[in-house]
């Protein structure tokens, strides 16, 4: 258990977050989330409420947000579930941050397809921009985390920054994105090489007739088969 953060129920954290409560807006959202599940099944709301709480903490601290222990307990009380059950959920999912992160949580994929696609360059770009794995930059802007597969293998290498995915990265594009974020701009998420979603890099190679508008291929089936 080397790299998981050791969570302490520190007096400081209690003092800062002990009085956590939903904002009016989030209270409405929380009610809606809890209302989705039948009576007696409120435990199902654990994940959406933890996410909501993390976002609220993020808004309050102007970071991506994290889950202090008192906030986890607040969520547990909201749905009438023992603390440990919600705590288990919060520790299980890597999307829940158990320690404070920066304004931008840079999660770079380090799984095989991304490594083959050049994630080493992405890490190098992060490093040269002053980001250190598992740490937050002194200005509080970036936290770098190496993560496992995020399911964007066809667009490898990729990184996720807060709610957006940035794909088809290389050293330059990564640097550009980080610089843009540091300036306060909003870089365009998605593929950085200009391709649409995960289509083939040089444009479609199959169903080419479908690119412009809908095309009925059924008439060509037999010939295709014969050919």
């Amino acid at each position: 258990m080397a790299d998981a953060p050791n969570i302490h129920d520190e007096a400081e954290v209690r003092a800062r977050w002990g009085a956590f409560a939903w904002t009016d807006d989030n209270q409405r959202k929380a009610n809606e989330v809890i209302g989705r599940y039948p009576a007696g099944r409120q435990q199902s709301a654990s994940i959406p409420l933890l996410d909501l709480a993390q976002r609220q903490v993020g808004a309050e601290t102007s970071t991506q947000g994290w889950l202090p222990v008192p906030v986890i307990e607040f969520v547990a009380r909201q749905i009438g579930v023992p603390y440990i059950r919600v705590y288990e959920v919060a520790t299980f999912y890597t999307m829940f941050n158990l320690a404070p992160v920066g304004r931008y949580h840079v999660q770079v994929c380090g799984t095989t397809p991304c490594v083959l696609g050049g994630s080493d360059d992405v890490f190098a770009a992060c490093k040269n921009h002053g980001l250190v794995k598992g740490r937050t930059t002194p200005d509080g802007l970036f936290t770098l985390t190496e993560v496992e597969c995020m399911g964007n293998c066809s667009n490898a290498p990729m990184m996720q920054i807060n709610d957006d995915n940035f794909e088809d990265l290389d050293y330059d594009s990564t640097t550009r994105i980080l610089e843009a974020l540091a300036r306060g701009d909003t870089p365009t998420p998605g593929s950085q090489t200009g391709r649409r979603s995960s289509e083939p890099a040089g444009g479609p190679t199959t169903l080419t007739a479908m690119v412009q508008d809908n095309h009925d291929y059924r008439g060509e089936w037999n010939t295709a088969h014969a050919g």
Binding site: M1, P82, Y83, I84, R85, Y87, F92
Partner: protein, 664 residues
């Protein structure tokens, strides 16, 4: 009733049984770690893999696979052998193999099963995972690197103890079992996770590095810490009881024991009375047995003799004391030390008639003045089971955490006279209704509670739903032996000579006569006595005990008493010689024969049959229940109070003292 074949043996198992249970029915041993009969099925250790036809061509986890008709199960094929060896190898990858310094060594499932099903060597040369120790309280010591994540402890805490404070955090390789924020687990049943743990991850903190299981003498006996009569095994070495573990008895304790049962045993070697004392000039002076007896013989009692039984004594002791008091011309006996004076003309009216096991089948339960969680934790677990099957629970008394949701009606005893509509509705539709009356309500509410028998229809064909919870192991036996005075203990206050049998909860200042204390611990009784005679504790005598449901059980002697202490019955026998009224028995067997002749129900082990008769104690109840009799679960008798472990539990779990920092 599915019929299937296990290794060619045809078995029929009940609907809903698993393949693992079918294999056991066929006499096949299936190795397992996570599966436990009394817990829900997790299916995460994969050790119970078997080959099943029809089914996919791969081994299947038998604990989670329902048995079905025409299945063919194979437990000895090469596929199964291979699978078991593979699983065992995986389990051992991150296991430290520190058996020589592990307390579980010798009684470890992982050890046993790796011998039986393992490959015998390792192919793993990489680094092992290490996990930091977790603080779980004064009872449970953790060495989490040994954990194989079977999650038995998590399921036990949630399902049986009802205290959801243990969980598995993080995931995959990093998964760890911990109590919430490493706080002490606040369950009085926490010691059971030590028995449940199939490896040495959770071991007993007070017993750490004390002994190896094979060097201990094992004695089967009965627990006296509460009135449940938990069946226990005392493990001793030489003259010391080193630990106490529960035995399986489905009718009483299933296979659980609470922490007081398990860990009060270190009080057996502390604060012991090991020689007779006589009070001279206000001070207790050590004397010989003969001098002590002669001091008693010198008392001019004028036939005003009485005996007070403590909470921990066996029937034999009470019978011997009673025989002596009778021989001296006395006729006053009492065991209810704190002044209870409920009517005992009908033993059924003060008995737990539904039986402990029967509690599970109840469908409506009313708790009257009882904090069941502390007064009888193992009855409380049965109530939890009843709730799982759909029972509704109401409670009268000050609100307290019972580990389940009860509908609190208030602490006014007069509620018994006129129950709220919700209760009457629930009991009206109930087939097996149950009322459980605790000590806090017996004083002013016994009559009114008995009135509920008719009002709520508690007695039906084959069902008696009227129950009284006692807290003393000696209570039912004492009542059977006539240890009950009409006006309670107040009737005994003016006796000229009183024998106290390990009675430490009595208000001694009210007794004006000569006080003889026969007991094993230097507690309240010894402080006030004029003569102290060193007796023996439950671990040092063979005795008969009757639990709260009237179950007669006998325990064996595990060790010998320290110093000059003697078995209680033999003290009374020897004293009778000096007092000039020799008792007619010379051995424990002789005493028992006499006792059986006097109270035939004690002869046979098992439920004593009390005929249901309604005592004439009607009337309405009034007053409020101010609190429950047990103020501190961990310090209820002289043995607990002498036990450092129980003192620590009390300080930490009841009084909230913080020890977490001091832990290793």
């Amino acid at each position: 009733m599915p019929k299937l074949k296990v290794d060619g043996i045809e078995v029929e198992v009940p609907q809903g049984a698993t393949v693992l249970q079918a294999c056991e029915a066929a006499g096949k041993e299936i190795p397992r770690f996570c599966y436990h009969e009394r817990l829900s099925i997790a299916g995460n250790c994969r050790m119970c893999l078997v080959e099943v036809k029809p089914g996919p061509p791969k081994p299947q986890a038998s604990c989670a696979l329902p048995a079905a008709d025409n299945q063919e199960v194979f437990t000895t094929t090469p596929m199964v052998k291979n699978a078991r060896e593979g699983i065992m190898e995986f389990l051992l990858i991150n296991h430290p193999l520190d058996c020589p310094i592990c307390d579980q060594g010798g009684e470890c499932d992982l050890q046993d099963q790796s011998v039986a099903y393992g490959r015998g060597h390792s192919r793993y040369a990489e680094n092992k995972r290490a996990v930091t120790e977790k603080y779980m309280g004064p009872i449970v010591k953790t060495i989490m690197t040994r954990c194989i994540q079977c999650t038995r402890c998590v399921r036990f805490a949630e399902e049986v103890a009802g205290v959801e404070e243990i969980g598995a955090i993080y995931r995959g390789e990093n998964m760890q079992i911990t109590s919430y924020l490493e706080e002490a687990v606040t369950s009085e049943l926490s010691g059971n996770v030590v028995d449940l743990c199939p490896v040495g991850a959770l071991t007993s903190k007070p017993y750490a590095y004390e002994a190896r299981p094979w060097e201990l003498k094992k004695t089967l006996t009965i627990d006296v810490m509460d009135a449940v009569g938990t069946n226990i095994r005392l493990d001793s070495r030489g003259r010391q009881v080193l630990r106490c573990v529960p035995r399986i008895n489905e009718d009483v304790n299933e296979e659980w024991a609470h922490d007081k049962t398990r860990h009060a045993v270190d009080g057996l070697v502390r604060r012991r009375l090991d020689r007779p004392y006589v009070r001279q000039g206000g001070k207790l002076v050590p004397v010989s047995w003969d001098e002590a007896f002669r001091a008693i013989a010198a008392v001019d009692h004028g036939c005003s003799v009485a005996a007070v039984a403590g909470d921990l004594v066996d029937c034999e002791t009470m019978y011997a004391a009673k025989a002596l008091v009778r021989a001296l011309g006395g006729d006053r006996f009492e065991g209810r030390q704190t002044g209870m004076d409920y009517d005992t003309s009908s033993l059924a009216a003060v008995n737990f008639n539904t039986t402990i096991a029967g509690t599970e089948r109840a469908d409506a339960i009313l708790l009257v003045g009882t904090n069941l969680r502390w007064e009888a934790p193992l009855v409380n677990t049965r109530v939890r089971k009843a709730i799982k099957k759909g029972a509704k629970v109401f409670a009268i008394g000050p609100e307290t955490e019972l580990t389940y949701k009860a509908e609190w009606l208030g602490d006014d005893l007069s509620l018994l006279n006129d129950l709220p509509q919700a209760v009457r509705d629930a009991f009206g539709g109930a087939e097996r209704p149950m009322v459980i009356v605790g000590g806090a309500a017996l004083k002013g509410g016994h009559g009114a509670a008995l009135g509920l028998v008719a009002a709520l229809g508690l007695i039906k064909d084959g069902w008696n739903g009227f129950n009284v919870v006692h807290m003393a192991a000696a209570r039912m036996g004492g009542l059977m032996l006539g240890y009950a005075a009409k006006g309670g203990i107040a009737d005994l206050h003016d006796a000229k000579l009183t024998f106290f049998l390990g009675a430490d909860e009595v208000d001694y200042t009210r007794f004006t006569g000569f006080k003889v204390y026969v007991g094993h611990h230097g507690d309240a009784g010894a402080h006030h006595a004029d003569v102290v005679l060193p007796g023996v504790s439950y671990a040092e005598k063979s005795g008969t005990y009757v639990n709260l449901e009237g179950r007669v059980q006998r325990g064996e002697r595990a060790v010998f008493a320290p110093g000059d202490a003697r078995e209680d019955w033999s003290i009374f026998r020897a004293m009778s010689d000096v007092l000039g009224c020799t008792l007619p028995f010379d051995s424990l067997a002789g005493l028992r024969e006499e006792m059986f002749a006097a109270v035939p129900a004690l002869r046979h082990q098992g439920l004593a049959q009390y005929d249901w008769t309604m005592p004439a104690v009607g009337g309405s109840a009034s007053g409020t229940i101010a609190g429950y009799p047990i103020k501190d679960f961990y310090l209820t008798n002289a043995i607990c109070r002498a036990s450092p472990t129980m003192q620590r539990c009390s300080a930490e779990l009841v009084h909230g003292q913080d020890f977490a920092e001091a832990a290793e």
